[in-house]
Amino acid sequence: MAAKKTSPRTAVPSGPVPFTKDQDLEAYREMLLIRRFEEKAGQMYGMGLIGGFCHLYIGQEAVVVGMQMAMKPGDQVITGYRDHGHMLSTGMDAKGVMAELTGRRGGLSKGKGGSMHMFSIEKQFFGGHGIVGAQVSLGTGLAFADRYRENGNVSVTYFGDGAANQGQVYESFNMAELWKLPVVYVIENNKYAMGTAVSRASAQQDFSKRGTSFNIPGEQVDGMDVQAVKAAGERALAFAREGNGPYILEMQTYRYRGHSMSDPAKYRSKEEVQKMRTEHDPIEQVRTRLLDGHKVTEDDLKKIDADVREIVNAAADFASSDPEPDVAELYTDILR
């Protein structure tokens, strides 16, 4: 088919178009918001204000921010349990997210969902799913609805290198390609599924090839470089939006923190983490470009830092002072 001939899988992807100053400023601010938010969440978890599981996104910020910069209003987002960054990048309110983490009534799910279960119809964010891989079939269903309605939207379905080994992922790939559904599968390969390195869990470690037997094109992307992410996202979204079916983006990324807050991360060396942080940090890359290339001053960046810190502190304040849900909420929202 014509679409396949021009598939970017076989084309040599041109390098990302360098960001303008405004784009770099936007990316910097959005990524910094996620990082500061997550650091604060980690701190509040340590204080006992956040319960249960808490999976931080620190290190992977460029993936959601770059994808969001490539998306159009109406495109849907769905992901797994490491979801705070995805929510913030879609524009969901930091206060509502943090208050959900602390289980308060002002949380986006009224305190009934927690870290892994938040939604926003307004921002077209469909969760927040705690069952590894389940969001892949659900995201494919969002794309099914887009095609059914012929609304020109694309479902951006995120999952990790761990989820990529679940069976329903391949059931979904098959249907998505069979029915030419507008879905971009973003595989966030952060090298570890909880404590298991990709090499110990995956027979095919090139995740961009995971759709090969279904004829789904894919490419590997430097997920630490927000410019590269946005460029790849635009290619993939255009491909899906034009009716060519699904597209796979393997984002090569890295999480600095453990799988969850209670993970001592004994499965990797401190040197490995430190190397990623010093040589590939997504925020530092943009910061350097802003200072050296765009001639933004340290003071300008400090102002952004202060703004972001204020948003995060306000979110933390709200999330610690907002009351718990009314007890009557126990029995609401079970049926509509």
């Binding site: 978890y45 006992g48 319960g51 079939s137 494919t140 099914f144 249907m175 304040d317 079970i334």
Partner: protein, 463 residues
Amino acid sequence: MAIEVLMPALSPTMEKGNLTKWVKKEGDTVKSGDVLAEIETDKATMEVEAVDEGILGKILVPEGAQDVAVNTPIATILADGEDANAAPAPAAKAAESAPSPVTAAAPVAPVSPAPSAVAAPPQVTVQPDPEVPAGTEFVTQTVREALRDAMAEEMRRDGDVFVMGEEVAEYQGAYKITQGLLQEFGARRVIDTPITEHGFAGVGVGAAMAGLKPIVEFMTFNFAMQAIDQIINSAAKTLYMSGGQVHCSIVFRGPNGAAARVAAQHSQDYTAWYSNVPGLKVIAPYSAADAKGLLKAAIRDPNPIIFLENEILYGHSFEVPKLDDYVLPIGKARIARSGKDVTIVSFSIGMTYALKAAEELAKQGIEAEVIDLRTIRPMDVDAIVTSVKKTGRCVTVEEGWPQSGIGAEIAAQLMDKAFDFLDAPVLRVTGKDVPMPYAANLEKLALPSVAEVIEAVKAVTYK
């Protein structure tokens, strides 16, 4: 103002830990994300990272300290130019307004608001069946035809309704329930899926989250076990987990329970399984009229519905009122036969045993009241209780297994709500507690029988 760094908890259950090492020294510049110290518990060693920026002022808890309580201040961080002896501000603004003192060793318990209402399940009143106007013509239809008509009528009414499943389109349905739908509605709305239950159930739920109204047909509910995670974890729980934002208007339907001579993996009754799950409605009709009226209601309902059909009943014929829009209330039982001596409660194919037994018993002078539950969740417990208050006796009939079955639930409800009215223990007639055997004689033994129902009724009526 100086900011306190607190001893963090590594898990919600951690109360104290050891401070094994300071990585930063007093006077060091600290940036967000820098490792300040290492702490350990009996389970793990973890790094304490800085959240705030500044200069490490005072180390308050020295390296090597054992059993440091969570939330104890362990150091201060100073802003540029600040004196190390400056009085520290509470750790973070978050802590400042935290409802409990930040020095508490146990996880901070947030303030519970005064209860503004007692947490109790809401009482829902279900309207009775709509009156069928006098003079309405009744047509004889099989359950199969009634189900097809229900889907076709709802698909004509609402463009968001579509049906998907294995062999539903070109093949016209493995059991011919979707016969003719492809011809009328086309391939966009009548969708053959690959054999991929887990995947297409998830696709259906995703489409429902986006606002469509899928009817997902399982060739049999035995195969839905592959998809049960999507049904329960995604469909049933999302409304709650989203605080009421995202709902799933979806019907999962198909034949449930034993057919004939298809053995253990194809002969299982899932009624009790789904009945256990808040967030689902579970419907299991017996007659064609109920199948039609309840399937139409299910498709319109904004919640996830498990619609359990029965392969043997597909070919049974019943009188169905010829009305333009025959919709029945979900959650309402029906008195299939009135009586004063004993209440027999059943549903779906169980009704065939119940009704035949009632006929036989009538010949012997025992008048049984037979209740067809029709909806299993929410269960019309009132209807059962009302009947038992009259009869004082109850026998339940189902093809499913005995333990934690529908009969067990009914017995428990009666203990709770009608104990003083019972003149005999509630007895259950169920499928036997075995996987379904293949051999004809054993299969027959594994299923309930009319004789067993009669025997149970005689036991509770002391006849």
